[in-house]
Symmetry: C2
Subunit: 246 residues, 2 copies
C-alpha cells in the first residue's frame, strides 16, 4: 500500500486544516500527525492560545514535524481562509444557521468532486467554533456518533476527517493485500501429495474404524486443509508432523 | 442524529477492543473515549504497564468513564479473547505470517456480515503487537496511510477502526441533516413576494438601463436567491434590506 498512492495525492486538491484558537499544543501536534498519516500537508493556525512553535506540539507530532515547520499562523479565521474557495466547519453542536451538514464521508466525496482549494475549520477544545467562525464556512461537517453525549476531542475529529478524506480520495481497495506472495501458496499437486501421505498413514492406523464412514470423514478432513490456503512451507511442515506422529 | 441509531447498535454484535501491554494510561483513556463515541462498549486490557484503574486514563476518557469502570483485565492475550469467535490484530507492520490483511472498511463489512463475537487487538505504543499475539488473530487490520513513514498512535488507530465500524454497521446516510427544519424554508409564494418587491424597486431605480437586457439579468438575479434555499426569516430580512436601501 502506501507509496503507491502518492501520484493520486498530487492530482487531488488536498484540503488545508485550520485549527482555531487551539488551547493545547499537544492537540496541534496530534492533528499534524493525523494529517501526515493521511496525506494532508497544509496546517493553518488561527491565534493558538500558547506560543507557537511549541515543544509539546512537536513531541506529539512524531514524524509530522515538517507539517508543524510549515504551519502558517493567522490572527483571524477570515484571513486564514481568504484564498480558499470552499470552507467546511467541523462542529458537533447544531447551530441556528442555514448550512448543510455533511458527514465526513459525504464531505470527502464533495471535495473529490469539486476539486477546489478547501479549508476545514476545527474550533478550540472547550467551546468549539464560534458562530462567527461557522458563518464563514459554506457547510458543516459533523462526525456521526453513537449518542448525544458523545464528544470527540479536536485531534480525534482531525483523525476521522483526514482518514475519511484519504480513504475516499485515494479510492482504496477494500482488502489491502496478503502478507505473503501468492506464489508461496502450495500448488494443488503439493496439497494432493500431502493428502496421499496422510491418507496412507490413517489407513495404516485404522483411523476410520468403519469402512463405510471413510469417504465422508476423509472429505471433511481434506476440506480443513484446503480451506487453510496452505503455503508450500506449511505443507512441508505437515508432512513432518505426520512423520513425527508415527 | 445520534440517538436514532441506538436500535441498530443493539442488533449488531459490537466488537471488543483489546489493548495489549499499553504503556500510557492516557492512551487507554483516549481509546475509551473513541469507543464511547462510536458505540463500542467492551474494553479488555492485557497486562497494562501502569496500574489500572488510573486517574490519567479517566482524565482522557471524558464522558467514557463507564467504559473504564467496566474494563476487564487479563494477564495474557489468549485469555482476553478466549470467548471470541473472530479476532483481528491491528498492525501496520507486515509480518511473516499467512493472514489476510483488511482495511478498516473491509473489516467493518466482514464484522457486520459475520455477526459473531469479535475482538480487535491493539499493541503497545513503541513495539506494536508481538508475533505471538498476531498469531492468535484470524486476520489483520491495517489502516491505510499516505506513506510508509506514517504511523498512527494507538489511540488514533482505535479512533479510525471504531469510526469505520460505526459508519459501516449503522449504515449512516451520506448527508446528515439540515440544521433547520425543512418547515422553516420559505414557500415559493413567499419567495415570489420577495421577487415582486425587488423587481418593483429595481424598475423604479432604472436598474436595468437597457430594457432588452432585463429578462436575462432578472432571471440571473432570481437564481441567486433561489439557489440560496432561503428560510422564511431570511425572506423577511431581505424585504427589510430592500426597504432600507430605498
Amino acid at each position: 500500500m502506501s507509496g503507491d498512492h502518492s501520484f493520486i495525492l498530487h492530482l487531488a486538491a488536498t484540503p488545508s486544516i485550520v485549527l482555531v484558537n487551539t488551547q493545547l499544543p499537544e492537540n496541534i501536534g496530534a492533528a499534524a500527525r493525523a494529517m501526515m498519516n493521511f496525506g494532508l500537508q497544509e496546517l493553518r493556525l488561527v491565534a493558538p492560545r500558547e506560543e507557537f512553535p511549541n515543544k509539546r506540539a512537536y513531541d506529539l507530532a512524531a514524524h509530522a514535524a515538517p507539517i508543524l515547520d510549515n504551519a502558517r499562523i493567522f490572527s483571524t479565521t477570515a484571513e486564514a481562509v481568504a484564498d480558499c474557495k470552499r470552507v467546511y466547519a467541523s462542529t458537533a453542536r447544531s447551530r441556528e444557521m442555514v448550512k448543510t451538514v455533511y458527514t465526513p464521508l459525504e464531505a470527502a466525496h464533495r471535495m473529490a468532486d469539486e476539486h477546489v482549494s478547501t479549508a476545514i475549520l476545527f474550533g478550540p477544545e472547550r467551546t468549539g467554533l464560534t458562530n462567527e467562525d461557522v458563518s464563514i464556512a459554506d457547510s458543516i461537517i459533523t462526525v456521526p456518533t453513537a449518542s448525544d453525549l458523545s464528544s470527540l476531542n479536536i485531534a480525534q475529529s482531525v483523525v476521522v476527517v483526514a482518514y475519511q478524506w484519504f480513504q475516499t480520495t485515494c479510492n482504496l481497495p477494500l482488502a489491502a493485500s496478503h502478507l505473503h506472495h501468492k506464489s508461496e501458496f502450495a500448488t494443488k499437486e503439493e496439497l494432493q501429495g500431502f493428502f496421499y501421505h496422510l491418507e496412507r498413514r490413517l489407513d495404516a492406523a485404522d483411523f476410520w474404524k468403519v469402512a463405510e464412514k471413510k469417504p465422508k470423514m476423509w472429505m471433511n478432513l481434506q476440506n480443513i486443509f484446503t480451506r487453510a490456503s496452505l503455503t508450500e512451507q506449511e505443507v512441508r511442515t505437515l508432512h513432518g508432523v505426520i512423520a513425527a506422529l508415527q
